[in-house]
């Protein structure tokens, strides 16, 4: 019996109620594991993450996280529920300094200054540039800041949307390695990725979505070898609405 920190149960969601993008999607993220969601463009991967974090309305189905029903919970209550989110783009406040960004993320923390020191230890580049505006950072550095901000509130679960997007191959690998490392520190990670190989190399479990629906899922190592994966991406074998 898997210990699910997040269970998305047959969720239908979209930006506009009568135009669903996700249909009957179910996903589980197991405790302290790296679960990855992949799929061709337009599959609804980012939409799923946004639905979980409350930025999109859910018309059917339920979402439970950390023992709590979070379906329809407003995004600003998510950090208190132990869930953090790193968006794909625009994931830091560029007009604020690194320090100000972190202060903002830490504002509800009981021991903010200690936590800040911990974060600086883990991400020394942020400590060096703490007075610089986030807009002046490189793409990779911004990504680390975004992850640091997500970690600020001691989350149980972190949702990441294409963390390697727009990064150099080396930076992309660093970010994905770091995500894997986080699971060994007790954090559960659910991440959406376009970079299939790099994601599957590090993931524990993987779900494939296409056209807003579940296709296949299983342990990442199995999926790497599964020919069905290629067919789903190329549009051959896909689950069609019943």
């Amino acid at each position: 019996m898997r210990d699910a920190v997040l269970s998305v149960d047959k969720v239908t969601a979209g930006y506009v109620p009568d135009l669903p993008i996700l249909r009957d999607v179910s996903v589980t993220a197991e405790r302290e594991k790296l679960t990855v969601i992949i799929g061709p463009n337009g599959a609804g991967k980012s939409t799923l993450i946004k639905a979980v974090i409350g930025l999109l309305p859910v018309s059917r189905g339920g979402i439970r996280a950390n023992g709590q029903d979070i379906t329809g919970l407003s995004p600003d209550r998510m950090t208190s529920a132990g869930i953090a989110y790193v968006p794909q783009s625009d994931n830091v406040f560029r007009t604020l300094t690194i320090r100000q960004n972190l202060d903002l993320a830490l504002q509800k923390h009981a021991h903010a200054s200690e936590r800040l020191s911990e974060l600086y230890k883990r991400f020394p580049v942020l400590a060096d540039k703490q007075r610089d505006k986030a807009g002046s950072l490189s793409g990779g550095q911004r990504q680390f800041l975004a992850v640091a901000m997500a970690l600020a509130a001691d989350p149980v679960l972190i949702l990441m949307d294409e963390p390697s997007a727009g990064l150099s191959p080396k930076a992309a690998e660093e970010v994905l390695d770091h995500a894997k490392q986080l699971t060994s520190f007790g954090v559960t990670i659910l991440l959406v990725e376009q970079n299939v190989k790099q994601a599957l190399k590090r993931a524990d479990h993987c779900y494939v979505l296409a056209e807003g629906r579940n296709q296949i899922d299983g342990p990442a190592t199995d999926l790497l070898q599964d020919p069905a994966l290629g067919r789903i991406y190329l549009g051959g074998e896909r689950r069609v609405p019943a």
């Binding site: 979209g14 930006y15 506009v16 135009l19 993008i21 463009n41 337009g42 609804g44 980012s46 939409t47």
Partner: protein, 326 residues
């Protein structure tokens, strides 16, 4: 009896003139989604333009070109159009409230200049010495007023027909396309800004026509005729009647003008003497409440738009659909 009919003729003339202005505003707002915060500037440009071009030479102000009336009328409309073109060119490509602020500013500046440029505009005295067309033939009396009303109603009908034809023309389809899905329209090579500018200027020219007729009717115009309240009155007419719907717009004009004159009459008749000074304020509060009330209760107006959909299943969902794909 003659008195009542005479009053009704007078009332209908003004209401019809304002209805023309509301139709022009409807093209800007109802069809194109543009916020004209200075309707009175186009109106005033028409009035001042026509009177300056068509009037007899006077000591107090510039003008007196004594142009043949139709030319003077056209001149006023062109003046309104040019003013609109300048403001539109500068603001239409920016966020939508820049247009609101800029047009509001134009109206403030227009009244200010008309009041202060005494040698050109007569200042607070206004433009005088205009002889109404055909007045020498018909004299001024009930007959003339009736003829004038018929002329105005004809203009109104012409504008109405023109705008209805415009809605179903290729230009009208283009306007709808831009309103519903701008990105798609752009990808087809249509320039939304140019189209919006054309619609904005056309609307202002129509409002200018209304102003010209207004100035012609009174044979006089002064800064008191181009105060901001006129903008609010015309907006109220459109909001009450129904934006996007030309018939509704005209109905709104008659309704609001009727309510305005009625409330003015009722207040002056029944309100105690001490309050008389404040009848204006009370009317302004009422019209403000009409505007806010309609927006809260029935923003589509009393006679809402019969949706003309170019393609079934289209509509404003187009934009969000593009956002939704990941």
């Amino acid at each position: 009896m003659i008195g009542v009919i005479s009053y009704l003729v007078f009332f209908s003339t003004i209401a019809a003139i304002l209805a023309i202005a509301v139709l022009g505003l409807n093209l800007q707002w109802g069809n194109t989604g543009l916020f004209n915060g200075g309707v009175v500037a186009s109106f005033g440009a028409g009035a001042y333009g026509t009177l300056i071009l068509g009037g007899t030479p006077q000591d107090g102000h510039w003008g007196g070109f004594e142009l043949y009336y139709p030319l003077a009328l056209l001149g006023g409309m062109i003046f309104a159009g040019v003013l609109a073109w300048v403001v539109g060119k500068l603001t239409l490509r920016l966020r939508h409230d820049y247009l609101a602020i800029a047009t509001f500013g134009v109206a403030v500046a227009f009244e200010n200049v008309m009041r202060n440029a005494t040698t050109v505009t007569g200042g607070a005295q206004g433009i005088r010495g205009f002889e109404r067309p055909l007045q020498s033939l018909i004299g001024s009396g009930f007959t003339y007023n009736l003829m004038f009303l018929i002329a105005v109603l004809t203009c109104l009908a012409l504008v109405y027909v023109f705008l209805e034809r415009l809605t179903v023309s290729p230009f009208g389809r283009l306007l709808r396309a831009i309103r519903e899905d701008e990105t798609a329209a752009r990808s087809l090579g249509k320039s939304p800004d140019k189209v919006r500018l054309a619609a904005f200027v056309t609307g202002s020219v129509i409002i200018g026509l209304a102003g010209s007729l207004y100035g012609t009717f009174y044979a006089f115009v002064s800064p008191q005729d181009v105060l901001p309240i006129l903008t609010f009155q015309i907006w109220a007419m459109l909001i009450v009647g129904g934006a996007g719907n030309n018939k509704g717009a005209m109905a709104g004009a008659f309704l609001i003008w009727g309510s305005w004159t009625f409330s003015g009459w009722a207040l002056s008749r029944f309100a105690p003497v001490e309050v008389q000074l404040y009848t204006g304020s009370i009317q302004f509060v009422l019209i403000g409440m009409v505007i806010v009330g309609m927006l809260l209760w029935r923003p589509q107006g009393l006679f809402p738009e019969r949706l003309v959909v170019s393609q079934p299943g289209g509509g404003s969902r187009g934009k969000t659909q593009a956002e939704g794909l990941t």
